[in-house]
């Protein structure tokens, strides 16, 4: 293991629950509908986290439990059937329906797996019904995607074919780009999961090697492994270094000639380094504090330190899977405090004490920190933006550089005068 210092903290947390993943998952699979079985809080969370008003009819919704649903579980089952049938009648384009568990549905022990099974029988394959938990008592933020993907694994067809599977939602443009690069070095068969159409699931089996695109897919990785696939251990494809190591892990696993890979990536790397230059200048030597939220914190810290020269004050993460993160942990500088879990008040005390130049945090904390004169970057933007791969390294750096740049700009131009 590396020199990073692993710490744990507990207390009041300030993170979204797994329901939030619906915000990007429903965009990835336009033929799927995400039905949260929960409360008005759950409905309000998703619409608030999505940040925008909903145009037309969204592909997610909440079956809001009411007093009488709590009174009798039998009725709750019937009610849920009724809601689902109405929904499907109204939205015939839906091919996959995800029933998403919430804190209330779990506390009252509403068994969504059973509901899904019953509906699957009734619907005779016209629509596939899956279930997973996005509840705040079980999951944080990005873990919702882990649950959704895991729920799809049993539906993946089997194959023995040699292939590479990219697991984790990527922006479509980035996905195309990465697949093209793999093809270019001679890795012909590359598929991605989740697919763009929920019914278009890739096959899986002993010939499949899985490269995770996101660091939060612990359960999905386990399920894929159970289907015979091999999970490749690599740093995550953020930044030039991470993306390069990530690609090389796959090409090596498939025995591809390393000089081909090298000659393909070399010009991309040179170009990306040039693009990164101005941001590096701005970020170098600046102090960074990452609050826990998306589980992207470790790879981001690694990129911002190693490629942009930022100083890491603290790297928070809601959850740390040491095995999956081992490659990342090794790349962090010695003694970097990596804090799993959270006590938001104590953490903010440390923020104030260490006065970082930039804090990565959730939307609830951003403006209050800005008001104290500390620049921030919201972590939720990172799960929506195309940031993966060598070509995106400069864009990724810019996301962090912009708030600092803006801070400077306003201080110089506006505040300096007063």
């Amino acid at each position: 293991m590396s020199g990073a210092t692993l710490l744990k903290e507990s207390g009041p947390r300030e993170v979204f629950c797994g329901l939030t993943s619906i915000v990007w998952l429903h965009r990835r699979m336009p033929d799927a509908f995400f039905l949260v079985v929960g409360s008005r809080t759950c409905a309000h969370l998703i619409q608030s986290a999505a940040g925008v008003m909903i145009f037309a009819e969204p592909r997610f919704g909440t079956a809001i439990l009411e007093e009488r649903d709590l009174a009798g579980l039998a009725d709750a089952h019937e009610e849920l059937d009724r809601v689902v049938n109405n929904l499907l009648a109204r939205r015939p384009e839906i091919r996959t329906l995800f029933l998403v568990g919430s804190c209330p549905s779990e506390v009252i022990k509403l068994d969504l797996a059973r509901v899904a099974e019953r509906l699957n029988t009734a619907l005779e394959g016209r629509v596939r019904v899956l279930n997973y938990s996005g509840s705040g008592i079980e999951t944080t933020f990005t873990q919702g995607e882990d649950g959704a993907l895991k729920a799809m694994v049993p539906l993946m067809p089997s194959t023995n074919e040699q292939q590479l599977l990219l697991a984790g939602t990527l922006a479509n443009s980035v996905e195309d780009r990465l697949i093209k690069l793999f093809n270019k070095v001679g890795l012909e068969k590359v598929c991605s999961f989740p697919p763009r159409q929920s019914t278009d699931l890739p096959a899986i089996g002993p010939g499949t090697k899985v490269l995770l695109t996101q660091p939060f897919l612990t359960e999905t990785a386990r399920a894929l492994k159970d289907r015979g696939a091999e999970i490749l251990q690599a740093p995550f494809p953020l930044g030039i270094e991470g993306s390069q190591l990530w690609m090389k892990t796959a090409t090596q696993a498939f025995g591809i000639n390393s000089s081909t890979v090298h000659s393909t990536l070399e010009p991309l790397i040179a170009r990306a380094q040039k693009a990164l230059e101005p941001f590096k200048e701005n970020l170098c030597g600046k102090k960074l504090f990452l609050l826990p939220e998306s589980q992207l914190e470790l790879p981001l810290a690694r990129f911002l330190h190693r490629e942009c020269g930022m100083e890491l004050l603290e790297v928070g993460t809601p959850y740390l899977n040491r095995e999956m993160m081992s490659a990342e942990l090794e790349l962090l500088p010695t003694n970097t405090p990596v804090v799993e879990g959270q006590h938001v008040e104590k953490q903010l005390d440390r923020v104030r004490e260490l006065s970082p130049d930039l804090v990565v945090c959730g939307m609830g904390l951003a403006n209050p920190l800005e008001a104290e004169g500390i620049s921030t970057k919201w972590s939720i933007e990172l799960v929506f933006s195309p940031i993966h791969g060598i070509d995106q390294a400069a864009d990724l750096a810019e996301l962090f550089s912009r708030p600092l740049h803006r801070h400077d700009l306003l201080n110089r131009k506006l505040l300096a005068k007063v």
Binding site: V15, R40, A56, E67, E138
Partner: protein
């Protein structure tokens, strides 16, 4: 179980957060799972607050449920009190904690803390945000004042006359995430001040528990937002016999009535109508010839109860519109909204389903929509101009400039913000006036983007404005759609971009009704006459 794709109101504990966050020195201990912390962003992002809401979430997890959650709750309470040193502590639960019944309120009370503790019971599976805010405000005021001495029969709203001071009132109800509360409070303060009335306490916005203790010192209460403050005002009336105002001063007429009402309560000279009607520019702007075209505009209104009722009155009495739809998402306000609608000869829509509201809007065929941000989107889809008059809040509803809804300046703001979208929208007389002006030839792109700009290819620009149902109808009727002749298209192209979509649609509708297979310039004019009558 209710399928909800989008909700106008959050859960009731968000209402409680609005009260706690509006105030100084109040802390809210919320027994809730971690995801519920999303609610902070409503204040820090939407309202751009530079401070975190004063809320400690216990963020219990599944693994805590087997163990001693009571200890967990107590630990959080102790830490919060030590750290934030509040002057009053609210203790409550969100939907999930309500199910596990830890009774955090009694736990807190058993801890021997030296500060007022208010237990909140907000049934998450039957109530919503505004109710939660009202209940919290009421419980807080009651909790702090229930032992306050009061001699029955001693209240006299005119006592100020013998005490050589000006009369003073409380402004109750303004809160964070309330529509334009920040500016309404300033406007009403100014208004009352001009009429010789002082402000005793404004609450909850900006008030501390100590200030709440001074509420009984007022000669009367002003209930600015019944959704939030009515239950409190009623209790204060029972407890301290303090009368309160029922008129919400939004619009010229209502502001006048409000002044009259408060004057009568306090025993001061009521204002003179011919004077008050001149205080806002709305009155004259509405009378000026330029506003002739506003006559009889069909308007559809939907929002919270207070703002919807006020909008209906202004539309009907002060702008000469025809109210063709009136509704609210607030069940608590259903009764007054129903009676307001009845007076206008229409049936009120009480619904929490935005798609139902959109359908009612489409059916009412209004020329202007006054609604929430959601109705703005529905109206946009239907190609109808819209102004936002009510919560739920959106970052755009917290403008940097001063823009109250209440009082004289509020009426000015309302005139501008309702008439502007109408002017930008489908204004018929402009067609005639500008039809040959070069500015309106194809290719001009307004920043409104949508309706105009690109040369219209058949059926392209307008279909995206139809709602799903209409879009479906449209698709069905495609095969029997009349065909535009080249000459017809040329005529259509002379019509300004911002009404072209509507004219195209109406003309096709007319052509279908009339059984024309082809549309030329004559059909266009026939259609125009047809729809005029």
């Amino acid at each position: 179980m209710e399928l909800t794709l989008w909700t106008y109101e959050g859960p009731p504990h968000v209402g409680a957060m609005r009260i706690a966050t509006s105030m100084e020195g109040v802390h809210y201990l919320l027994h809730a799972p971690q995801g519920d912390t999303y609610a902070d962003l409503l204040f820090t992002m939407i309202e751009r607050r530079g401070k975190r809401p004063p809320v400690t979430y216990t963020t219990f997890q599944a693994r805590d449920l087997g163990g001693d959650t009571a200890e967990l709750v107590k630990g959080h309470i102790k830490e919060a009190v030590d750290r934030f040193k509040p002057k009053a502590l609210l203790v409550g639960e969100s939907c999930t904690a309500e199910l596990i019944q830890d009774q955090p309120g009694s736990l807190a009370k058993g801890m021997g803390l030296d500060l007022p503790i208010i237990t909140l019971e907000l049934p998450a599976y039957s109530k919503k945000e505004n109710w939660g805010a009202a209940e919290t405000f009421y419980q807080l005021v009651r909790g702090l004042l229930k032992n306050h001495p009061h001699e029955k029969g001693s209240q006299n709203s005119k006592a100020w006359k013998d005490q050589s001071r000006r009369p003073r009132v409380n402004l109750l109800g303004p809160s964070l995430l309330g529509f334009r509360c920040r500016d309404d409070v300033l406007e009403i303060q100014k208004l009352l001040n001009i009429h010789g009335i002082d402000i005793n306490v404004i609450a909850p916005l900006g008030a501390s528990p100590a200030e709440l203790m001074r509420i009984p010192d007022a000669d009367a209460n002003v209930c600015l937002y019944p959704e939030i403050a009515e239950s409190t005002c009623l209790w204060l009336q029972r407890q301290f016999e303090t009368p309160f105002t029922k008129t919400v001063p939004i619009g010229v007429g209502a502001t006048h009535d409000f002044l009259k009402e408060i004057s009568e309560i306090l025993g001061i000279e009521p204002p003179n109508q011919s004077e008050t009607s001149k205080q806002s520019r709305l009155t004259w702007y509405s009378q000026s010839v330029d506003s002739n075209y506003l006559t009889g505009k069909r308007v559809f209104i939907f929002g919270d109860g207070t703002h919807a009722i006020a909008a209906a009155r202004i539309a009907n009495e002060e702008l000469g519109f025809e109210v063709v739809g009136l509704g609210t998402y607030s069940r608590e306000m259903a009764r007054p909204v129903r009676s307001a609608a009845e007076k206008l000869g229409i049936e009120a829509l009480i619904s929490n389903d935005y798609l139902e509201v959109e359908k009612a809007m489409a059916n009412a065929a209004p020329e202007l929509v006054l609604g929430t941000q959601m109705e703005r989107h529905s109206a946009k889809r239907l190609g109808i101009p819209c102004a936002v008059i009510s919560t739920p809040m959106h970052v755009q509803d917290v403008p940097a400039r001063y823009s109250p809804q209440m009082g004289w300046e509020g009426a000015n703001v309302i005139f501008d913000s309702w008439v502007h979208p109408l002017m930008m929208g489908l204004e018929e007389h402009l067609i005639g006036m500008f039809r040959h002006d070069f500015e309106f030839i194809d290719g001009h792109q307004s920043h409104l983007g949508h309706q105009g700009g690109q040369p219209t290819t058949k059926h392209e620009p307008q279909t995206k404005y139809l709602n799903p149902d209409e879009a479906a109808k449209e698709i069905v009727s495609k095969n029997n759609s009349p065909i535009w002749t080249e000459e017809g298209e040329a005529e259509l192209a002379k019509i300004p971009f911002f009404v072209r979509g509507k004219v195209r649609r109406n003309t096709e509708k007319y052509a279908r009704q009339a059984g024309c297979r082809q549309i030329d310039s004559e059909t266009l004019y026939d259609a125009k006459v047809h729809f005029r009558n």
